[in-house]
């Protein structure tokens, strides 16, 4: 039987020598990495959801009633049922502003189950099909026609969320019967949970008196600026010209959430630094003990020809084995936690899910690298110390 052993198998045997100590170190690294993966997933998920949602809206500027920025964000990012209105006359006023390429508007109505509608609380978006550039990109190809009066589309997730179920069913919205005729593609915005109707239906809806919408009102105007112009400059001009409205440039959508997120980020960074330090310290303490215990063995290895680099290899492999096992467990736990606990955070509950496999892999890699880096950093000083010992002194060390 041929017996071959390598530095890796050598290190693996060392790892197995004191199982309890190894398990403690693995748990420490796993805790560090799982906390890291969880917090990175949280922050990345929220920020990328907001970024993508704002990008996908397809407008450069949003014009909303004065004081309604937060309401607009609630609807567009989180599909919170909110109503806010301004006079439709603003559309003609905006057309006079130089640099505006196109604009469209939407009116938001809030359903209330049992009072006006037979669907749970959600937002009904009335949009103008002639000017629309917000909804059109998400209309499925197979739909291929304009919405008629009494017809509605459901957002990609609303079919599930409001339990409308299958299309081709009738629902009562504000006292009018609407036929659900199709499902929108996923937009990645709060609109995924909404229902969509042509704004030609609003007259009938108001006639039934089951909404507080008044004739000639709209909720939001989406503006596209001409190529090469600065949306911020035009948004400023709109606000200066019309006191009754507020504006939001595309990049500012979700700014309040992102600001809050930044504060959460600082707390995460502080906590992570603390955990990193503690894990590093634990690794240092354990490897200092290991180095002391194995001084004689290192001396023997040196006496039979091991170079300093060989000693480093053996110890580093040991560190990497422990770090990799701990990090892998941490990645699994952190990712599971981020999925399982996502819905317990209201900020995540309402946000559209924007978290690709690629992002998860990147976060897992970051977790893996940091887990191993902390392990290596902690073990480096004891390893340096032991490899520098004169072989005879190491052999004689008790």
């Amino acid at each position: 039987m041929k017996t071959e052993f390598t530095f890796s198998s050598f290190a693996l045997r060392n790892v197995k020598r004191k199982p309890l100590r190894t398990v403690i170190l693995i748990i420490a690294i796993a805790l560090l990495v799982s906390a890291l993966v969880f917090s990175l997933s949280f922050v990345r998920r929220v920020s990328s959801s907001i970024r993508l949602a704002s990008e996908r809206l397809g407008a450069d500027i949003l014009v909303v009633p004065a004081g309604s920025r937060g309401f607009a964000e609630d609807v567009l990012l989180e599909n919170k049922a909110k109503s806010f209105y301004m006079d439709k006359g603003i559309i003609n006023k905006l057309k006079a502003i130089q640099g505006i390429d196109s604009l469209t508007y939407q009116t938001y109505l809030t359903t209330m189950q049992g009072k006006c509608c037979d669907v749970p609380e959600t937002v009904v978006v009335a949009f103008n099909q002639d000017t629309d550039f917000i909804i059109k990109p998400w209309l499925t190809e197979k739909f291929g026609r304009k919405l008629l009066k009494g017809e509605a589309l459901v957002g990609n997730e609303s079919a599930f969320n409001i339990r409308v179920g299958l299309v081709e069913v009738d629902s009562v919205l504000f006292g009018n019967i609407f036929k659900m005729v199709g499902i929108l593609d996923k937009t990645g915005t709060g609109l995924d949970n909404a229902l969509f109707i042509d704004d030609g239906n609003l007259e009938d809806i108001m006639r039934k008196g089951k909404t507080d919408l008044k004739p000639g009102q709209v909720s939001i105007v989406f503006v596209r600026v001409k190529k090469g112009l600065d949306p911020y400059k035009i948004a400023g001009e709109i606000e200066d010209s019309f006191v009754e409205v507020d504006t939001m440039a595309r990049k500012d959508i979700g700014k309040s959430i992102i600001t809050t997120l930044r504060d959460i980020n600082y707390i995460f960074i502080f906590t992570m630094s603390l955990i990193c330090f503690l894990s590093g310290f634990l690794t240092w303490a354990i490897f200092s003990a290991i180095a002391n215990e194995r001084a004689r063995e290192v001396g023997i290895m040196r006496a039979v020809g091991a170079k300093e680099s060989h000693i480093i290899s053996v110890f580093l492999l040991e560190v990497i084995i422990v770090g990799s096992i701990g990090s892998s467990i941490g990645i699994l736990c952190g990712t599971s936690l981020s999925i399982l606990l996502a819905k317990t955070f209201s900020i995540m509950k309402n946000l559209p899910l924007h978290f690709s496999i690629a992002e998860r892999i990147i976060i897992a890699c970051i977790g893996f690298l940091i887990g191993n880096a902390v392990c290596i950093a902690g073990a480096l000083s004891p390893i340096q110390k032991i490899k520098k010992m004169e072989p005879l002194m190491a052999i004689k060390k008790e």
């Binding site: 039987m1 041929k2 017996t3 052993f5 390598t6 050598f10 006496a303 039979v304 170079k307 052999i395």
Partner: protein
């Protein structure tokens, strides 16, 4: 040319505020294939002397020329290669790695060779048979007696055909019969392979088996 030439070798240990001279201006010439014993009281500097010759300790001053090259000027890598390729060590205590089997311990120096091959397990088995513990090849050191561990260490020292064997009381834990077997093996290897042997012993009889006998007294070396 001498195989080993020690020139004015001194080793001073700092113990607290005191300096203790373990080896005091020792000069020595050893030729290839010599069979040398070193005797002396405990603390006389025997172990320090052969440790410096073997490159596991740096002297305070002086030179150790091995085949004309001063090993005291070698950097760590070169000194490690020297220990790995030219020297076979036998310590006065069990010097096995606990997580390796007897056979793996014998093959250990191969792990640090440039080829990074632990060598032929057949040779390791052969050597374990020679030292009389072939049947324990897969046993771990904790499953072996002190004497058996010592035999594994001897097999390890012989594994890669070293030019010089430095042995610090190599048969200390062994019974008389095994002691004689081991010494016969040393003599045979010395004659057949021209391996130089320098061994420390307290046993006058064993010392007498050497063709050249040295005595260390308070750091000074004398021919007997």
């Amino acid at each position: 040319m001498a195989q080993i030439e020690v020139r004015e070798l001194t080793k001073i240990y700092a113990v607290g505020d005191q300096n203790i001279t373990a080896v005091d201006s020792v000069s020595l010439t050893i030729h290839k294939g010599e069979f040398v014993s070193v005797v002396g009281h405990s603390g006389s500097g025997k172990t320090t002397l052969i440790s410096i010759i073997g490159g596991i300790m740096k002297p305070t001053s002086g030179q150790v020329l091995f085949e004309g090259q001063d090993i005291c000027t070698f950097d760590d890598d070169r000194l490690s290669e020297y220990r790995n390729e030219k020297i076979g060590f036998m310590f006065q205590f069990a010097s096995l790695l606990p997580m390796l089997t007897a056979k793996e311990n014998v093959m250990l120096p191969g792990l640090f060779r440039k080829t990074k091959s632990t060598g032929d397990p057949g040779t390791a088995m052969e050597l374990l048979n020679v030292v009389g513990i072939g049947d324990k090849c897969d046993a771990y050191p904790s499953q072996l007696s002190g004497g058996q561990q010592r035999r594994v260490a001897i097999a390890r020292a012989l594994m890669y055909d070293p030019r010089v064997i430095l042995a610090d009381e190599p048969t200390g834990d062994l019974d008389e019969e095994t002691e004689n077997d081991i010494m016969q093996l040393f003599r045979r290897l010395n004659k057949e392979k021209e391996i130089t042997f320098i061994f420390i012993t307290h046993n006058r009889e064993l010392a007498g088996m050497a063709q050249r006998k040295l005595r260390m007294t308070r750091g000074n070396l004398h021919e007997i």
